[in-house]
Symmetry: C2
DNA sequence: GTCGATGATTGAAACGTTTTAAACTTGGTT
DNA sequence: AACCAAGTTTAAAACGTTTCAATCATCGAC
């Protein structure tokens, strides 16, 4: 079939070898029905012999639109976002599009570097998880279609999210019902909308001791956990803004000999796969990550096709999954 | 600065507005020193006013090489690969390149779809984790630079890997030294080189009861775990080909009331972040994931720049991290 | 035999860059 | 007054596609 070719072979080479014009080759590739069977075969043979692969950049240049979407999140190593990304990937490849996955890591510089990369690539659109930096506004200003994942764009763009206020309330109310009065909220930066919303919801059910940490990962959780232990009037329950934080807190508590749930109840958020497998299986607020990603990608594709388009806001409802970490003492 | 533009603005528009030729605009963008200060300012002003963003596809078309690399792995939701990807992302963005992350999910069709996507995009190169399908050979045949991550290409390409034979031996020997004689090996498909090598290494230390499962994820582990329980002469220790499998096994054992490590010792592989946070903290064979990714990307960039190039094989040594799941009974 | 009609094929333009060689300024030398 | 060098700027070609209007065959019908 294909032979190894170092000098790239173009449509012109194929045309030459098959003894037809380049227009015909293009037709064979894109609308085989418009070309006679005999020539079609001849051209196809030339394509196979030469190992011709059409150039996406030339195609894109001509068409004016690319076959790529991008997804930008704070941290792709967070299993929640990895799942969202996976869902988006499924939806995109079903349409023959590629997905570029990027972690900004809370670094505003990295983030704007990615944004200009996307703009230069003329990506079809961007799936963006809101960050502290005003990236959503940048995309809007540049006229790049985008869907906000896990956040709300207040009408300025489509968005797919989970009702975090409800989620926060679910978690806190559960703890209150188990008899807890002093509840801590371990969170990432409060300028992140997600962290704010969960706090608002939780505040409706209980008064909170807020422990903020710069990064929403396991290390951040460990840090918050040890700070928690030093608190004068130690809370009896902790609600964490995501499962990574909760796992970190759990590690810190364990290291200090504090038992969960006996000494301290713990609730996480996202219900990542590892929550169920944790040292003490973690009660968590489940969000449909994969579906979030699929829906967001679908919305994005729809928007980029349909010029006249009204922004949609899809909000999923979270669900509390109770496991041992929050079970009331007997 | 930028104004919202729907009809894309090209270098020609900028040239017109600044009253210079397009060549000059190109120079302002790419070699500002070659153009007089006064014109440079004028052109820059036009660029800002129009919100001009250069088209990567046109650039790429002209240059013949793109500014993208791709990474293809079985499952990006496996934290190990997510970490590898993160490392690769760091190295690539340091050079101003973008990374396209893709999960093949063991589906040969998806995989070849991605490969043709990469070829059409003329990606600079591909980071590939070896799969059962012969993708590495396809890349070689098409002359696309690639680096095999977590596997060896036997001279046909660069590779970055961890010595899995040693890793397997490390795990099994540890169990043998703890007094175990009947040891099970829970693994993904044995046509995956990784799974084979770990088995070979482990076999050198002990005889193994092999339990194969089609997918290397938590669900696969749960499945293998329950099969394990039904075994006639039940092993006293289990070595899993990765941590996801181990976590799944742990869940199945727990559900059946089998205690770890008292009734059964457990060792995983990769030492993902969640291994330490597991219900019973998991003994695991650590691999430097992030570094693997960084090194692989660096190698790839070097190869794609330097035509005459001898393939390198970098092999890292794994390291056993002992935690409670394999601690001998007192 | 000529006229359309139909179907297959072609030629050329356009997409937005980068690059190279050529053309145009200056201002200083002879 | 003519010439040169250095410093700027420009015109045009090339990259590989797709598309559209135009041409070319072929064939049945008059």
């Amino acid at each position: 079939m294909t032979t190894k070719e170092q000098g790239r072979v173009s449509i012109k080479d194929v045309a030459e070898r098959a003894g037809v014009s380049i227009g015909t080759v293009s037709n064979v590739v894109n609308r085989p029905d418009r070309v006679a069977a005999s020539t079609r075969d001849r051209v196809q043979a030339a394509i196979d012999a030469l190992g011709y692969v059409r150039s996406e950049s030339a195609r894109h240049l001509r068409a004016g639109r690319s076959r790529m979407i991008a997804m930008l999140a704070l941290d792709m190593t967070n299993p929640f976002f990895a799942d969202v990304a996976h869902g988006a990937e499924e939806a995109a490849t079903a349409d023959g599009l590629g997905v570029m996955l990027c972690s900004s890591g809370q670094d505003a510089e990295v983030e704007s570097l990615y944004l200009s990369l996307f703009a230069e690539q003329r990506v079809r659109g961007v799936l963006i998880a809101p960050t502290a930096a005003g990236s959503v506004e940048v995309l809007a200003r540049q006229g790049i279609p985008h869907v906000v994942v896990d956040g709300n764009a207040r009408g300025a763009a489509c968005s797919v999210s989970v009702d975090d206020v409800v989620g926060g309330e679910l978690a806190a109310r559960h703890l209150v019902e188990a008899g807890h009065r002093r509840i801590a909220y371990v969170t990432g930066p409060l300028d992140l909308p997600q962290c704010r919303d969960r706090r608002i919801g939780a505040s409706e059910a209980a008064e909170l001791v807020v422990l903020e940490t710069p990064t929403m990962d396991v290390a951040g959780g460990r840090d918050a956990g040890s700070r928690l232990l030093g608190l004068p009037d130690r809370p009896t329950a902790v609600f964490c803004a995501n499962d990574l934080l909760a796992l970190g807190v759990l590690q810190a508590l364990f290291a200090a000999g504090v038992r969960v749930p006996d000494d301290l109840a713990l609730v996480g958020y996202d219900d990542i796969e590892f929550a169920a497998a944790a040292a003490v299986p973690l009660t968590s607020v489940r969000r449909p990550a994969r579906r979030l990603g699929r829906t967001a990608a679908d919305l994005l594709l729809r928007e980029s096709d349909d010029s006249a388009h009204r922004h949609e806001h899809i909000v999923y409802q979270p669900e509390l999954v109770v496991r041992r970490s929050s079970l009331a003492q007997p």
